[in-house]
Symmetry: C2
Subunit: 210 residues, 2 copies
Amino acid sequence: MMITAAKTKLMPNRRLAFWFDFASTYAYLSAMRIDAMAALASVEVEWRPFLLGPIFADQGWSTSPFQLYPAKGRYMVRDIGRIAESRNLTFQLPEPFPQNSVQAARVALVGARRGWINDVSKALFQVQFATGKAIDDGAVLGQVLDSLGLDKIEIMEAARSPDIKLQLRAATAEAAALGIFGAPTFITSDGELFWGDDRLPMAVEWAQRF
Amino acid sequence: MMITAAKTKLMPNRRLAFWFDFASTYAYLSAMRIDAMAALASVEVEWRPFLLGPIFADQGWSTSPFQLYPAKGRYMVRDIGRIAESRNLTFQLPEPFPQNSVQAARVALVGARRGWINDVSKALFQVQFATGKAIDDGAVLGQVLDSLGLDKIEIMEAARSPDIKLQLRAATAEAAALGIFGAPTFITSDGELFWGDDRLPMAVEWAQRF
């Protein structure tokens, strides 16, 4: 354990940026395994919430491709169900899908400043995709923060600050500039981009080269 | 070896339909490994050429999503390049991309009737994506048939017959009816659908349940 920690300190480039939108079902799959996989590989993960909506809009899509293309949407539900089962995860699609993920992303950004973004993000993915609850519902967000022993009133106010709103817009613009077109996306410290939960093992392996 | 053959005969449902369009880069990856993977699992593969064009048109797309969405297209080239390297495959994108795959698909259907569809399909994928040649070029198609010791004049005439043209249209309609929206797609004998080269191991495992 001490050796692993020391190795990590000597390899500042052994990092992986995990870009995700809370509305993404495949990001849920990655969120549930990325920290454990990265820890095994002595890779540091940076959780980067952003919004797919503006990126999809630039591609001419008014909503998720899973809504625009019904055959693809039906397949996704089955595909996620099969994979979730093989990983012992529960899966339930929230209603409506996709959820509005703006509030959740802002709360996560507050968490990034305060050191609990990983925990709150996993809890938000789970409440949405394991129990099918609406993450654009303030009461659900409040329950998640409560369950982590966090001050929901203060945090939800911070999440509404102009500063955090601006930070989320900047993160989304940064994602587009990086060539991100879907979620989850993983980017190594040398700029290699991997799209989709399928590619997470390859991304971790790439980050491990350093 | 005898035991494997006997096992296959006793398991008529241990089958996988491999639906592909010759223009698909990810289908190239699958074409290069599916027979070996399936043989190891005593699964029988049925090669099913079809055309993505009419299915994309139904989704409102005039060409490949890799052309419509440039960031996705750039990523695909890099992604295929990385995977090809890890599998010791050569990869070169033909110009233009995607290729018109109608002629190649018709030749493959002639091969399906005559028992050499696997070989001709692999050769067509390789000439296109390993050497970057145009598979809508009759000379290239002829060279591929030549290299397999086949009668190119007679086969290319058979490929233009009304019967084969109708069969390709029927295969494409069947693909759409099965819920296929991209390639490669794998369907087991119990109707389970898997999309993408990433899912080939899962599809083979599923087919192996029988």
